[in-house]
Symmetry: C2
Subunit: 114 residues, 2 copies
Amino acid sequence: MNQNEIKLYEARANIIKALAHPSRLFIVDMLQKQSRTVGELTEMIGADTSTVSKHLSVLKNAGIVEDEKKGTAVFYSLKTPCILNFIGCIEEVIESNTKAQLEILSCCRTRRTV
Amino acid sequence: MNQNEIKLYEARANIIKALAHPSRLFIVDMLQKQSRTVGELTEMIGADTSTVSKHLSVLKNAGIVEDEKKGTAVFYSLKTPCILNFIGCIEEVIESNTKAQLEILSCCRTRRTV
DNA sequence: TTCTTATTTGGCAATTTAACCAAATAAGAA
DNA sequence: TTCTTATTTGGTTAAATTGCCAAATAAGAA
């Protein structure tokens, strides 16, 4: 990898890292439907407000969500819709992994009943 | 988030985490074209063999790549082709971020020349 | 068997990440 | 201004990640 390639893959990795956390994936899922305040997301997630606020700032810095202040509340919304396809692919991987697991299980169960 | 939701988002996050590293993204990119041995990838990346081997095992455990031994060498190949669309989306985010940066720059440069 | 090449595993040090609490800040309402 | 609500920031601690070295393992060649 030369310097340019390193820069490119680091830039990609930084965005993917921003998504690589259960709470942040949940947030992305929620924001697909509608904008939400920090408070609403905090309640849904069930963590400390400061924790959720920090998750949101990670997503914002990565350019995945954007925020808009209305009164004292801050509404967050999804900035990049293609993130959805993204999740679809992850589901494919999970499905494939699960199928592999099932095959292992069915194999062993068969042997046991024979 | 209830227990099932937590499980779901954790499963997704685990796969995304496996991709969230520059060297591993590079590996995925390389494997799109053809299968590669640990040695080949190690040379391309320019890190320790053990480091690359561990990156590959992270990708393998996540179900993203699979391996096949031929003689003393181990060939790794991409297991889930949809990972490509995935990267496409990441590029969109980067592009959007870059455009935002450019706007900031053009704004300031204009002001300065006025 | 012994030697060589290719890869994986174990272990350690350095860095990064994540969660909570407490304190600071922002915007209105009283 | 003072009070209240909503959010962010700072700080601390625990856990996870990464990279390299050294050693172990695997497969074939001599």
